[in-house]
Symmetry: C2
Subunit: 319 residues, 2 copies
């Protein structure tokens, strides 16, 4: 059976795991991202960490078919070069995939974290068996990954999938990206919180204050209150779902996918958001493609980053 290394590169830690040909995690470990290291040192360190995980799985590098790296930021998946990694600036412009490939002795491939996510879901998750897939991550940011005719689509400058920055209201809220009415401003983490606080400040009765996290209103706190039956919290979640559904209707009309896979922390609210999203999408989109498009939660949970990153290699090596 083939095995792949998945490296989920984050600002505070690097999660490294080995998956088998069924997409199951054989072994995994998290390592601190050492901010004092140079870019080259970090690459060597990550290779060392990966080798450790391989060893602790009772394997050698001969058992490994390839390695995939998923990272936030701007990057070039063709050359394996990171361009702008805001949280780990010493990796800017570093050719991380060729560097790791050289040390590890296996092919290594780089892609952004949302493309890694959609590939993970495509090979081993909720998008398995589908060929036209739109994946979305709902969290602080709203991101997206696209699979058309069974192939990941990255766009001409590798920036395709910025679903959070589709404008749903030409004169809507200003977005730091330079546009108005971006989806992310309404259903990104801050957008949800702002809407909720706005209603709370009007004195509408709610139990949300019983569910705060570190004294703060968060999407999870709102979801918990909604699950407990709180009317305002349910309305905030439903409104979030309706806004999402509006955007999905546009995506249905433009892209006619078979499945929307919704992941990210905010998606943990599940049907509190997805059920109104489905209703709104069906109301707004053309009937034929709307009937074809299902909206489901991402299947890969905690280890989605590792599995998805490994799938960057799975995808390249099975093409």
């Amino acid at each position: 059976m083939k095995h792949y290394i998945g490296i989920d590169l984050g600002g505070t830690e690097v999660k490294i795991g080995i998956i088998n040909g069924d997409g199951a995690i054989v072994k995994k470990e998290a390592f601190k991202t050492e901010s004092t290291m140079s870019g080259d040192q970090l690459v060597a360190y990550m290779a060392d960490c990966a080798k450790k995980v391989v060893t602790s799985a009772g394997m050698t590098m001969k058992d490994i078919t390839g390695a995939g790296i998923g990272s936030a930021g701007l990057l070039n998946p063709d050359t394996g070069q990171l361009r702008i990694v805001v949280n780990i600036p010493q990796l800017n412009d570093v050719f991380i995939a060729p560097g790791l490939a050289k040390i590890l002795g296996v092919p290594a491939f780089l892609d952004n974290d949302v493309n890694a996510m959609v590939l993970g879901e495509f090979y081993y998750g909720a998008a398995k068996g589908y060929k036209d897939v739109v994946a979305m991550t709902l969290g602080t940011g709203v991101g997206g990954g696209l699979i058309f005719d069974g192939k990941i689509y990255r766009g001409a400058a590798f920036t395709a999938g910025e679903i959070g920055h589709m404008s749903i209201d030409t004169d809507g809220l200003y977005c730091p990206c330079g546009n108005y009415g971006c989806l992310e401003r309404y259903i990104g983490r801050d957008g949800i919180i702002q809407r909720c606080k706005m209603y709370m400040n009007k004195g509408i009765e709610t139990s949300i204050n019983n569910y705060l996290e570190n004294g703060e209103v968060t999407p999870r706190a709102i979801a918990k209150a909604a699950e407990a039956g709180d009317r305002l919290a349910r309305e905030v979640m439903e409104e979030t779902g309706r806004i999402l559904g509006n955007a999905l209707a546009t995506l249905v009309n433009i892209l006619n996918p078979e499945v929307f896979v919704i992941g990210g922390g905010v998606a943990n609210a599940g049907d509190l958001i997805l059920e109104p999203a489905r209703r709104e999408m069906k109301k707004r989109a053309y009937t034929i493609p709307a009937q074809k498009a299902i909206i489901v939660r991402a299947a890969l949970k905690n280890d989605a980053g590792i599995v998805g990153s490994a799938c960057v290699a799975v995808d390249k090596l099975s093409a």
Copy 2:
């Protein structure tokens, strides 16, 4: 040199032509769509017409590599079956491509007119040499065709590309499709005319009335007045371009194409619309994909329907 038949199926006439391997029209003719015929009779009639064009070009069917049919309406490009053709209802559910292939003795393929348009531009027009293409037709309706990584993308139910029905304003104008704020409502032919009339009814000074067509305000009349320097007409065109640019910015962020090819009658206004569209797109979209995306007019003009339809066959037979 290979030659292909292109059949551009319309409600009032069928345009049939032969293109050579350079995309040049060798011979073409238009035939009336006989509304008294049954579906099968119409297929036989079209095959006869096609053979006539071949003969009049001094060729035989042995010189023809394949035939492509472009049609409005709902259809299945995999089976070559028309499903719903509003203007020629006797063709509903007719397997037109297999029918023509049988009579003509060459492979025949069916696709919708906007996909035919984007294929024509991809092989022989403004999208030649690009691999990530979004084509738009601006006319009574606003349609779209998509090419990703050098391959046409039709979606799971063959309805992808309905760019006219992306919502640019969640609470905007009601659209007969069942959504609110659809792009087509603002920059489709009727949307442009309505906006123009609204301003004219306010008594704003304009010379548009000197350019009416059959006594009516039309996009062409507005464009002519704008070209002659009419202030209100220019504003209507500029507003149209800005709204288009807003939609293109969303498409840049989602799809990161290399080129937008804009065709259809309204696009004849050229830079009166496209220049404000470019400005607005650049203002609103992410910088990196915006720098990559050019906005150009469709290159194939009068014969676009024939060449595009023929390219449906070119594409299938070169795949």
